[in-house]
C-alpha cells in the first residue's frame, strides 16, 4: 500500500528536537550566565528561592514558553487563513486586526495612563513601561475582536467570498489606521506615542505566568482543532464548489475558522505585540517542507512559528546585548532568509501553476 515515501515522523521529531535545543539556548544565553546544571536542577527539583539563578531561569523560561506558544498560535492561524482565502500572501493580518489591536492598546495607554518612560530618554538606556499591561492587552484584544466581527459581518452580507472578505478588511483597516493616526496627531503626547510604538514592536518578556498559561492552552486547543479540520482545509483550498460537494459548507466553515484564527491572533498580539511576519511565513515554510496536505503542514506551521520566535528571541537578546531588540523586528531577520532560501531552492509549489 502506498504512500508517503518520505517519513514525516522523523521530520516532526527533528522539529521538536530543534525546538528543545533552541529553548535551552534561549535559557542559557544572556548577560547573566546560566549553566546546564542550573537548568536541570530548576526543572527537576523545582524553583529554589535561595538561589540567584532561580529568578533568571524563571524569567527566561517564561519568555521561552511565550515564544513557543505565541509563535505556534501565529503560525497556525496564518496557515488556516491562507488555506481559507486560497492566498499565499494572506494571514490574519490581512483582516487588519493588528491595526485594531494597536488602536485598542492606544486607547488603553491614553485613558488609563498606561504608559511612562523611566530613566533618561535615549533609545538604549530608557526603559519604557506599560503601567497597566493587562488592561492594555484586554483593550487590544477587545478592539481586534470587534474589528474581526465587523469585517466578517460585512463580508457575510456580500456573500462571504474571498474577495468580499479582503475588500471589506482593507476598507475597515484603513479606517482604523486613520482613527489611530488622528488620535496620535491630536491627542497623544510624545510619551504616549513612544509607549504605543514600544507596544507595537512586540516583546515576549511582558507576559505574566497567567498569560503564558493562557497562551499555551490556546495553542494546544488551536493545534488540535487544526488537526481535526485539516481535511476540510484541503477541500477549501480546492474551491468552494468542491468543498460544498464533499459535504462542507464553505461559508460556514470560512466564517468559523477565520474567526477562530482571528481570535488566536488577537489573543497573541494583545500579549506580545504585533509580530506579523511569523504569521505570514510559517505556513509557507511548513508547506515547503511537509507538503500541502493540511494534516501534516497544518501542525508543522505551529512548530515552525515557535521555532522562528525562539530563534528571533535569541537574536533579540544577543545582537547588541544587554539591549533587547523588539522581537517584531528580529522575527523578520530570521524569517526572510529562510523563506528566500526555500523559494530559490525548493519553492516549486509557488512558481509553477
Amino acid at each position: 500500500m502506498p504512500r508517503y515515501r518520505v517519513g514525516y515522523l522523523p521530520l516532526f521529531l527533528l522539529l521538536t528536537a530543534l525546538l528543545l535545543v533552541l529553548s535551552l539556548v534561549d535559557l542559557i544565553v544572556g548577560p547573566y550566565t546560566i549553566s546546564m546544571g542550573d537548568i536541570l536542577s530548576y526543572l527537576l527539583r523545582g524553583p529554589d528561592v535561595s538561589k540567584a539563578t532561580t529568578v533568571v531561569i524563571g524569567m527566561r523560561l517564561r519568555r521561552v514558553l511565550t515564544a513557543i506558544a505565541a509563535g505556534g498560535l501565529l503560525g497556525t492561524s496564518g496557515y488556516v487563513v491562507q488555506a481559507n482565502l486560497r492566498n499565499p500572501l494572506a494571514s490574519p493580518f490581512t483582516l487588519g486586526i493588528q491595526h485594531a489591536a494597536a488602536l485598542g492598546a492606544g486607547v488603553g495607554i491614553l485613558v488609563l495612563g498606561g504608559g511612562g518612560v523611566v530613566g533618561p530618554r535615549s533609545a538604549t538606556s530608557a526603559t519604557i513601561l506599560i503601567a497597566n499591561p493587562f488592561t492594555v492587552s484586554i483593550l487590544a484584544f477587545g478592539a481586534s475582536m470587534l474589528h474581526t466581527a465587523l469585517v466578517l459581518t460585512l463580508a457575510y452580507v456580500t456573500g462571504l467570498t474571498i474577495y468580499s472578505i479582503i475588500l471589506v478588511a482593507l476598507a475597515l483597516s484603513f479606517t482604523v489606521q486613520a482613527v489611530l493616526a488622528l488620535l496620535q496627531y491630536l491627542v497623544f503626547n510624545e510619551i504616549q506615542v513612544a509607549t504605543l510604538m514600544f507596544w507595537t514592536f512586540g516583546s515576549v518578556e511582558r507576559t505574566s505566568w497567567l498569560e503564558v498559561e493562557v497562551l499555551l492552552v490556546a495553542y494546544v486547543v488551536m493545534a488540535v482543532a487544526t488537526w481535526v479540520v485539516a481535511p476540510d482545509l484541503d477541500l477549501m483550498l480546492l474551491g468552494d464548489d468542491i468543498a460544498s460537494s464533499s459535504g462542507v459548507n464553505p461559508r460556514v466553515f470560512r466564517a468559523v475558522s477565520m474567526s477562530t484564527a482571528a481570535l488566536a491572533t488577537a489573543l497573541t498580539i494583545s500579549f506580545v505585540g504585533v509580530v506579523g511576519f511569523v504569521c505570514l511565513v510559517s505556513g509557507h515554510i511548513a508547506r515547503l517542507v511537509f507538503g500541502w496536505s493540511a494534516r501534516r503542514s497544518g501542525l508543522a506551521s505551529g512548530l515552525v512559528g515557535g521555532l522562528t520566535m525562539l530563534a528571533a528571541d535569541v537574536i533579540s537578546r544577543t545582537v547588541i546585548s544587554p539591549v533587547t531588540l523588539p522581537i517584531g523586528i528580529t522575527t523578520t531577520i530570521v524569517g526572510v532568509p529562510v523563506l528566500i532560501a526555500l523559494v530559490l531552492g525548493g519553492g516549486r509549489g509557488y512558481t509553477r501553476d
Binding site: 496536505s293 509549489g349 501553476d353
Partner: protein, 250 residues
C-alpha cells in the same frame, strides 16, 4: 426506478436567468448526457443537482428525498461531482483523491478509505503517479484525477461536467467506457455535460438538450440528436450519420 427527479427548477445569477422551469427524471443506472451551447445552463444544472447552488423555484429529489432533507454530508456520500474547473494546488494526487473520501470518515481516513483511493486511481490508470503533485500533471491526467476523486467516494449518482475535455482520443473513449461500465456493474447513474454530440449519441441512454436555460428536447439519443434540433439550438447545419453514430458539420 427513478433516482433523480428535477421538477420546475429555476435559477438565476442576479439578473441572468440560467435555468428556466427545468423538469425531467432519470432512472437508476442510466447514462444521461446534457448537451447544449456554451452558456445554456449545463454547469448550473449539475450544481443545482449537487446542492451547490439552491434553485429559486422548483425542487430536486435524489433517491426519493428532496435535497432540502439531506445534510450536505449525507448528500455528498450519494452524489459525486466532477467540476468543469477547480483550483489546482500542489497537493499530491493521492491526497487529492483521498479528499474525495471526506464525507465517509469523521477524524482520519480508515484502511477502507485508502483502499478506495487506490482502486479509483487504478481505474483511471494513475496509480503510478500517486505521489506527484497536482500541479505536475498534464491537463488530461488532471482530468482523470478529478474523475478518480469522484469515483473514490462511491457515489450512487455521478455528475460530470465535460469529463472528456482535455483528454486525448484514447482517454476520451476510456473515460466514457469506464463510466458506462460503472453504471452497468454497480448501478451508478451518470449525468454528464458533453459538447461532443457523437459521444453523447454513442454513450448515453438519454439525452437532454438545454437551450437558453430551458429543456429544448429530451429522450433517446437517436430521437433527440437530429438535424433539426442541431440547427435550432446551435445554429449549425449538420448531418447525422445514424449507422456510424456520428455527426458531421456541413
Amino acid at each position: 426506478m427513478v433516482i433523480l427527479e428535477i421538477s420546475g427548477v429555476c435559477f438565476r445569477y442576479g439578473s441572468v436567468e440560467a435555468l428556466n422551469d427545468v423538469s425531467f427524471s432519470i432512472d437508476a443506472g442510466e447514462v444521461v448526457s446534457v448537451i447544449g451551447p456554451n452558456g445554456s445552463g449545463k454547469t448550473t444544472l449539475l450544481k443545482v443537482i449537487d446542492g451547490i447552488v439552491k434553485p429559486v423555484r422548483g425542487a430536486v429529489y435524489v433517491d426519493g428525498r428532496s435535497l432540502g432533507r439531506y445534510s450536505r454530508r449525507s448528500l455528498a456520500k450519494i452524489v459525486g461531482y466532477v467540476p468543469q474547473r477547480l483550483n489546482i494546488q500542489p497537493l499530491t494526487l493521492y491526497d487529492f483523491v483521498l479528499s474525495g473520501r471526506r464525507p465517509h470518515y469523521v477524524l482520519t481516513p480508515t484502511a477502507r478509505d485508502r483502499e478506495k483511493v487506490v482502486e479509483a486511481l487504478k481505474s483511471v490508470d494513475l496509480l503510478d503517479k500517486a505521489d506527484r503533485k497536482l500541479t505536475e500533471l498534464s491537463g488530461g491526467e488532471l482530468q482523470r484525477a478529478v474523475i478518480a476523486r469522484a469515483l473514490a467516494s462511491e457515489p450512487k449518482v455521478l455528475l460530470l461536467d465535460e469529463p472528456t475535455a482535455n483528454l486525448d482520443l484514447r482517454y476520451q473513449v476510456e473515460v466514457l467506457e469506464t463510466i458506462r461500465k460503472l453504471t452497468k456493474s454497480r448501478g451508478i447513474t451518470a449525468v454528464m455535460a458533453l459538447h461532443d454530440l457523437s459521444q453523447a449519441m454513442r454513450y448515453s441512454d438519454k439525452v437532454i438538450v438545454l437551450h437558453r436555460g430551458k429543456v429544448y428536447a429530451l429522450g433517446a439519443p437517436e430521437e433527440v440528436i437530429n438535424e433539426k434540433v442541431i440547427e435550432a439550438v446551435y445554429g449549425v447545419r449538420a448531418t447525422v450519420l445514424r449507422d456510424l453514430k456520428a455527426i458531421v458539420v456541413l
